[in-house]
Symmetry: C2
Amino acid sequence: MHNTFSIPAGFQFAGLHCGLKQNATRQDLALILSERAAVAVGAYTQNRVFAAPVALDRARTPTEGARVVVINSGNANACTGKRGMRDAEQMARLAAEAVGVAEDAALVLSTGIIGEFLPMEKIAQGIPRVAAVLDSDEASVTSAARGMMTTDTVEKIASRKFQASGHEACVLGLAKGAAMIGPNMATMLALVTTDAAVETEFAQEALREAVQETFNCISVDGHMSTNDTVLLLANGASGVELTTEELRSQFRRALREVCADLARAIVEDAEGASHLITLDITGCASRDEAHRVARAIAESPLVKTAVCGADPNWGRIVSAAGYAGVPFDPNEVVLTLNGETLYEHGTPTDFDAAAVSQSIRDRRETHIELRLSRGNVSLRFWTADLTAEYVRLNADYHT
Amino acid sequence: MHNTFSIPAGFQFAGLHCGLKQNATRQDLALILSERAAVAVGAYTQNRVFAAPVALDRARTPTEGARVVVINSGNANACTGKRGMRDAEQMARLAAEAVGVAEDAALVLSTGIIGEFLPMEKIAQGIPRVAAVLDSDEASVTSAARGMMTTDTVEKIASRKFQASGHEACVLGLAKGAAMIGPNMATMLALVTTDAAVETEFAQEALREAVQETFNCISVDGHMSTNDTVLLLANGASGVELTTEELRSQFRRALREVCADLARAIVEDAEGASHLITLDITGCASRDEAHRVARAIAESPLVKTAVCGADPNWGRIVSAAGYAGVPFDPNEVVLTLNGETLYEHGTPTDFDAAAVSQSIRDRRETHIELRLSRGNVSLRFWTADLTAEYVRLNADYHT
């Protein structure tokens, strides 16, 4: 994502290679510092099997005293038992020492191979070095974003700003993820920083909502990981306090839009994908049923291979919706793909298959809308097509 | 499946090509006749979007007067509206007339492309022809089984016999399915015939149980179809009546074993598969939680591509189990693959990865056992690996 972005006041960023990845040109260690105490809240994987850093962050959030987040890629520090827990704590301690803050003011994110212990000597050597290059320019933010990446092909960065009484607040998010993506939470990491002053409870609520509408609405392969985490740090350095309903609303929107950009970017970078698939499920009685229908469609290998093959296969889409456990009437749903209505009144329409197929081939994004007649709740969900390349990437194993 | 099988008394079978498939050497129409009135019970797809023949069979079962089942492949008669319903009824009527029975004594099964009307003129010409070649030898049974096939590469036939007071009863099943397979009911068709005398209520119960343990425990791609149906016809022609608990038990077992053979055969023939994956989930508190864990593992593209690549990836398997919604303790599960323990006490063991990988490569079947410590309920589930060939077969589209 080679877009420009804004950087919230009072944060510094850094990223470098410390030896966790084989390729020395790849960053694998990152640091994000808040110059003042920040409110920190998190949203975490619901997998029963969760990594040591997830346990640590869960125990330390919510908090009003967060100062630093240390991130490594190349190793998820998951399924590493008691030693893994000690290593996560040590990593946090090293980061806190390097920037001169209290130990419990540090949070940890890890991603990568699971079941192997962290190479702590490399991390111990790398942390002082990365702390020495902390800065608040675009290059530093980009390096930090790269330090989180595993199979991602591009760094994922998004920001929004909003105004209040002559001051400006900024929300900046960094994320990673390209496979093993499935709600809840979609296997990925995201770190969102803001210079708005946000109270802890409101921050937790706003994050929960934003996550529900964005990171919980993406799937690459429906596989929730051991490490999923979204952290939000708010340090108030902009002077903008969310004292009115209008300001709280603006913050919510900025946060949601940043998360939506990042969530979409994760799916666009899905392993082996040739199409982003945007699903709009509308006319539902509740968000829960819209989500079920979306997931059923998004997780069907038959739907995903159809898009890969530019096949306007309405049958696979409608029958996938049909097993979502939502009691809709097949005669009452309307299916539209890339603007063309393919199915309604219980049967396919007389659509031009060659033209619709061409429209799938011509565009990087395939847009599918399924309209039920059970209410007025809508939901947007993203997934990617299933290609031979995905199989190749994930069946690629050598001892 | 080039095995031998037994044929129950009082049934006749036939299959031929009537023009629904392009290739004239492929049967696409089959007939199964019971020479006397038979008890017929069914289990059907739970998809909200279900085909006309499913609606017809649901309405006509359970019954004690079934005489004939007419089957076509090449067209599922699904999403065909009112005309599809009339065509299904007409197809049943033609079959009944051809064998000289009452109209409502006929049941219908269809499989194949959805959203297109049945070519009724071909069916009308074919039914008398197939009725004329009804017989009770192996060749006729095989032709009927082939008449059900779509993307199957082999016909699926299984039988069991049991004794009672000098008489012998036989259970013979035919099935089809190779993709779009996902519980409940796993997109497939199965027709089970028996010459035992079975009361309607007991037949329904026995079928329900057998389906729950077999066809509901397979997945190729997790996609439940519009046409899934299992029919059981029992005509009593053997003289064996299920008058004792022992006999009822023998029948249940025979039925379950026939269904298990067919279910396994379906997965073994999965599109593009290079491995059958047998999952044994043990030590569970309930069947429901064992089934959830099995499905999560079986439906993960990451687990399936790992097997394809002969990768002993315990992390993907354990993390898939972790999002099944079953609150197990990761420190209390043991994962074994092809007899080797890969994970226990919350961390991987020191296993020989090269040797385990070789064992996957050397065998057509990969056996995975996940032992929880929450009770003593076990469940066996089958799936297949995910290969580039699956993608190729299902992304293959031309206008």
